[in-house]
């Protein structure tokens, strides 16, 4: 009998104690974010979509179409078509990443000997079809205009 009374007493104490915790947070700062009106400030190292780096001065990318990144990619998400220009230098004509296959691992960026790749801060990559998942690596989304 005493045990039961004790139990009931404990129950009566424990429930308001939990509610007090909730009450404490009721008057605290809001932590949720009203996406998409509010946006998260992404950190420096954020790994979004893979793109070619455009050089600030020359406004050109540094890719020589060597294919190292393609060999480093664990899921074969990169596709490269290259050509040779007047100076007998190879350059990429069409360079795409299939975001549906990409693991966002950054191994391609690490493997590039010319430091031509980076991962940008684009994370809204949902697309309505598989074809639309294939994105160009050129920063403006166009093909190389050489």
């Amino acid at each position: 009998m005493i045990r039961i009374i004790k139990e009931i007493y404990k129950a009566l104490i424990s429930l308001p104690a939990g509610m007090l915790v909730t009450l404490k947070y009721l008057f605290g700062r809001t932590v949720t974010m009203q996406y998409p009106e509010e946006r998260w400030i992404l950190p420096e190292r954020f790994r979004g979509r893979v793109v070619l780096i455009r050089d600030e001065k020359t406004l050109k990318h540094r890719c020589t179409a060597c294919g190292n990144c393609l060999r480093a990619c664990p899921n074969a998400s990169l596709r490269l078509e290259s050509a040779v220009d007047q100076n007998k230098k190879r350059y990429p004509v069409k360079f795409t990443v299939d975001t549906a296959l990409c693991l966002f691992c950054g191994l391609c960026v690490d493997s590039c000997p010319f430091n031509a790749l980076k991962m940008n801060k684009d994370y809204e990559l949902a697309a309505a079809s598989r074809e639309a998942c294939v994105r160009s690596l050129f920063p403006d989304g166009e093909n190389d205009d050489r």
């Binding site: 954020f46 664990p74 899921n75």
Partner: protein
């Protein structure tokens, strides 16, 4: 005649999952029921099978790393670490001390994050929604730390063979310390909200009790094993990385029931905080990665390493034939062996108790199916 009809009952099958919120993923449980009582529970696996062991045979050693993120996706850091350690053992490579410390900090932060992912939904299985929100609020802070260090919130690929890929970013140490301070208060709140709640105690005490012998027979590891009273933790028993330099306890339970599993996990979170704080104090300067060739080709041979992930022992067994790709890789995952006690634990329970026993085992289907 009429009498016999009234007295006859029939056993029936109840299908739980694979699309069921309480199976935490895509697990299907086939329950043989007698009225409301479970006679037999048979887990049906494989809905998330991606064949990672086979995929490993066609990837180079560095290329397989991002796939390990997707095994136990709630604790990717631990998967990264176990895999890297196995390859380093094959290569007989030395990892610089700073890298080891960073790995420990990350793995322990990930342990807290992983236990929080368990804690919230587990309380939700019992009908309490509020703890879920608080757990995820704290977890978001850990994920912010990870994101600042490696750029991802779930599939980190932060470690690499021989060390870690990036050094700690600016402000990481201060922010982690701040988190540790904040999280201690949170743990008290969790205890008041859930651990002291009479409904929670009544629902979990004595439910799904597992004996020490059974736990060992079934190959259970991690908190499931420790809740039964067995003091077994790879971090203490066979210290890997730099765990022998820290002081921490291994929390154990007594009866191995659902309540004990809850208590062990909560206590583990505060032990992890201790480890993180010590590691931040002792963090040495220096290199973050060993010098290794770009294309990794280990000598022919084999290696097995195992570590203590939030769910228990995770082992990688790799056979090398001297080429750039593993000849065979076997992944010993903790969730898989922990799941194997479900038929034993669920016998004689009611359906609503099956939900909480399953929740208390804490499986991740990515880890079970691989």
């Amino acid at each position: 005649m009429n009498q016999t009809i009234i007295n006859t009952t029939e056993e029936y099958f109840l299908n739980m999952g694979p699309q069921h919120p309480s199976t935490h993923g895509v697990l299907r449980l086939m329950l043989k029921m007698d009225g409301e009582v479970v006679l037999e529970a048979v887990p049906d696996l494989g809905y998330l099978h991606r064949g990672f062991e086979k995929i490993a045979e066609s990837r180079t050693y560095s290329q397989f790393l991002p796939f390990t993120d997707r095994l136990d996706y709630v604790a990717s850091m631990a998967n990264n670490q176990a895999y890297c350690m196995a390859v380093e053992k094959l290569l007989k490579a030395e990892v610089p001390p700073r890298a080891e410390y960073i790995r420990v900090i990350m793995a322990e932060l990930n342990r807290i994050a992983s236990h929080l992912v368990w804690f919230g939904p587990f309380a939700m299985d019992l009908g309490a929604i509020t703890p879920f929100l608080y757990a995820f609020k704290s977890r978001e802070m850990i994920l912010d730390l990870f994101e600042s260090a490696c750029g991802q919130r779930l599939t980190y690929s932060y470690m690499k063979i021989g060390g870690v890929r990036w050094d700690l970013p600016e402000g990481f140490i201060e922010k982690t310390r701040e988190f540790c301070r904040y999280f201690k208060g949170q743990l008290d709140d969790y205890e008041t909200l859930v651990g002291g709640n009479i409904i929670f105690l009544e629902r979990t005490r004595g439910v799904g009790a597992l004996s020490k012998e059974d736990a060992i027979d079934y190959g259970c590891t991690g908190p499931v094993l420790r809740a039964t009273g067995a003091r077994h933790d790879k971090r203490k028993d066979e210290p890997y990385s730099v765990y022998n330099e820290f002081e921490f306890d291994i929390p154990v339970g007594k009866t191995g029931d659902t309540l004990d599993r809850y208590r062990v996990r909560l206590a583990e979170m505060s032990e992890s905080l201790k480890i993180i704080e010590q590691a931040l104090d002792k963090l040495p300067q220096g290199e973050i990665s060993a010098k290794l060739p770009k294309l990794i080709k280990p000598e022919p041979g084999e290696a097995y390493t195992c570590i203590e992930t939030p769910r228990g022992e995770l082992g990688f067994y790799i056979v090398s034939d001297g080429t750039a790709k593993p000849y065979r890789m076997k992944i010993r995952s903790s969730s898989f062996s922990n799941l194997s006690v479900i038929p034993l634990l669920c016998r004689g329970l009611k359906v609503s108790d099956v939900v909480i026993v399953l929740g208390s085992i804490d499986i991740v289907l990515g880890d079970v199916d691989r």
